[in-house]
């Protein structure tokens, strides 16, 4: 406990960030990780040594080798290639799902936060109820109703994100609404939608983007979970989730089949979490600097 109560300004910094200087370790590590995730996903067709669905029964369930850097699966398909294409799928699902949540939740939150009252209460009550379902359960139920496909997974995960983004957008909007330029705009008769789009949106966008970064990581885990349960991407399309599901049957002979995709999920989600934290840290720094 020594040094824990030494001064009033020990408050905000996190351990991964050395005190002093503008050095933001989470931002750098997370940023590098996320850029790697995005680049390898987008360049999957160029980087993958094999087609992700190329079957080679003679070399099935292999370990690490020069020909197959991360081994092969039960059909002799190259695990590294499937990992890269699976990342591509995860990234696309995550980005579209988060965009759905960001747009839907942002809109609800801005409208609700514009003015306290019955509209605000009703909207947020609906969001609370949506929020009270466990996310995975809600996704499972929606997939059962919509039918299993990647597109439906995006929609289901996107809907799950709406209440969280709505709450956040509402609290940001409310803090903007007390500003003088809003009072000025309202008193000069600027219409409601124009105030939201021209005055509120630019002010809440940076904060929303930080939330969106963290949400990408969560969307990746949700997509992987749905695919693991057989409710998301359908085989033979590779997804980190269905790769782990398939690999569970061969864990003693080819542990890489589950270890490799599990590591990929860990790295992708860890990177987005770190990046989100780094961005938050930078925002806090800027705020505390602004107060001086």
């Amino acid at each position: 406990m020594s040094g824990s109560a030494t001064g009033p300004y020990v408050g905000r910094e996190l351990p991964t960030t050395p005190v002093g200087g503008g050095f933001n370790l989470p931002l750098i590590v997370g940023g590098v990780g996320v850029v790697t995730f995005v680049v390898t996903s987008l360049a999957a067709p160029l980087l993958a040594p094999y087609r992700p669905d190329k079957i080679d029964v003679l070399s099935r369930l292999q370990g690490i080798s020069v020909a197959h850097l991360l081994g092969t699966d039960e059909y002799g398909r190259d695990t590294l290639s499937r990992l890269l294409y699976g990342g591509r799928l995860s990234l696309i699902v995550a980005v579209i799902a988060v965009s759905i949540g960001l747009l839907g939740g942002g809109l609800v939150g801005m409208v609700a936060g514009y003015r306290p009252g019955r509209r605000d209460a009703l909207l947020m009550r609906c969001m609370d109820i949506l929020f009270s379902f466990p996310a995975i359960l809600l996704a499972i139920v929606m997939m059962a109703a919509l039918g299993t496909s990647v597109t439906n997974a995006m929609i289901a995960i996107g809907i799950i994100f709406i209440p969280g983004f709505a709450r956040y957008a509402r609290s940001l909007t409310r803090s903007v609404m007390v500003e003088q330029f809003i009072a000025y705009a309202r008193s000069t008769g600027v219409p409601f939608l124009r105030i939201l789009s021209r005055e509120v949106l630019p002010n809440i966008a940076p904060g929303m983007m930080v939330q969106a970064t963290v949400a990408i990581g969560y969307a990746v885990t949700l997509e992987a979970t749905l695919s693991f349960l057989g409710l998301g991407a359908q085989p033979p399309a590779p997804s980190w989730g269905n790769m782990i599901a398939a690999g569970r049957g061969f864990m003693t002979r080819a542990p890489l089949m589950v270890v490799a995709p599990a590591f990929a999920i860990l790295l992708a989600v860890l990177s987005t979490n770190l990046l989100g934290e780094g961005l938050q840290l930078r925002a806090d720094e800027r705020q505390s600097r602004g107060r001086l």
């Binding site: 020990v10 408050g11 009270s132 995975i136 139920v141 270890v259 860990l266």
Partner: protein
């Protein structure tokens, strides 16, 4: 406090009713699925009509909803379309499994979060803090199903310390039960434990940086007293708020974990309902899980209101 409690309890009941409407609507707007699943892809119109009549599926949706929810309020969830088994009996049989798993998961989460957060704040800025933070970050970044698979690989298949799945009731053999539940509870609790550790750590560090801590220390309060009275109490509010949300995550994660470890709980009932397209089983199981999440949330909110009196006044929120 009583007033606050009653208000919250009414809120939970209303939310559950809305949730039941949502579940029913989501799963029943597309008609004809139940009969297709039960009778095969090309049933004769007569067979379909007989099936729908038998289960009351020929009635308007609103009537179907009220007959379902009316039964639920009397503890009768109806019968499975596929197996004709009473869903209420099935839920009663499976509920203890899910509750044991989720309680175990919560316990693991707390046992990870609280000690790690304390160790991390005590030795802030050192390698111990860094390791504790890294462990929590890794825990919260790996989804429960991947953690579970990794744990089975290491502890069941490689080291052969623990069984990879299955279930024995604690009343039959407590030792075997605990052995079987250890890995599921661990994989379920790791994710929430990692997140809660970070929340608690940030809360304590944040509180210790406040001026009232400095003032209190300068007036001669001991470090322990300051830590307990000003830091832990203050930090426990965000901890409890996030903890309430994590209750949902733990119950949701249980659905996946039960599937991996072949535990016969409500979660696996829900997934079986999907597999057999038995939507009545699916919507009933999902409603029960949601009900438990909401009740657990209410309980957590009560603890928060007990610690922080400001939360009992609605305007202060």
């Amino acid at each position: 406090m009583t007033h606050y409690l009653i208000k919250r309890a009414i809120g939970v009941v209303l939310s559950l009713l809305v949730a039941s409407v949502l579940l029913f609507a989501t799963l029943n707007v597309l008609p004809g699925k139940a009969s297709t699943a039960a009778l095969g892809l090309n049933p004769t119109p007569a067979a379909t009509a007989a099936f729908n009549k038998r289960y009351g599926l020929d009635r308007p949706l609103v009537t179907q909803y009220f007959s379902w929810i009316g039964g639920v309020l009397h503890g009768n969830f109806g019968k499975s379309y596929q197996t004709e088994i009473s869903i209420s009996g099935e839920i009663a049989r499976r509920l203890p499994v899910t509750l044991e798993l989720t309680l175990g998961g919560t316990l693991v989460a707390l046992l990870i979060a609280l000690p790690l957060a304390f160790v991390a704040t005590m030795s802030r800025g050192t390698i111990v803090d860094l390791v504790a933070t890294a462990v929590s970050l890794i825990g919260l970044s790996l989804p429960a199903f991947a953690t579970a698979t990794a744990l089975v690989l290491v502890f069941s298949l490689r080291l052969r310390w623990l069984p990879p799945g299955g279930y024995v009731a604690p009343s039959v053999d407590l030792g075997t039960n605990l052995k079987l539940m250890f890995l599921p509870a661990l994989s379920l609790g790791l994710v929430s434990g990692g997140l809660l550790m970070r929340i608690f750590r940030t809360g304590i560090v944040d509180a210790l940086g406040r001026e009232y801590v400095l003032v209190s220390r300068s007036r001669g309060a001991s470090r322990g007293r300051v830590l307990w009275w000003h830091a832990v109490r203050v930090a426990s509010i965000p901890f409890i708020t996030v903890g309430a949300m994590e209750v949902g995550a733990i119950f949701g994660g249980a659905v996946v974990i039960e599937q991996i470890f072949q535990l016969p709980g409500i979660g696996s009932l829900v997934l079986e309902g999907i597999e057999t397209r038995d939507y009545r089983v699916l919507q009933s199981g999902a409603l029960v899980i949601t009900a438990f999440v909401m009740i657990a949330n209410l309980f957590v909110d009560m603890i928060a209101a007990f610690i922080d009196p400001r939360l009992r006044v609605p305007s202060a929120q």
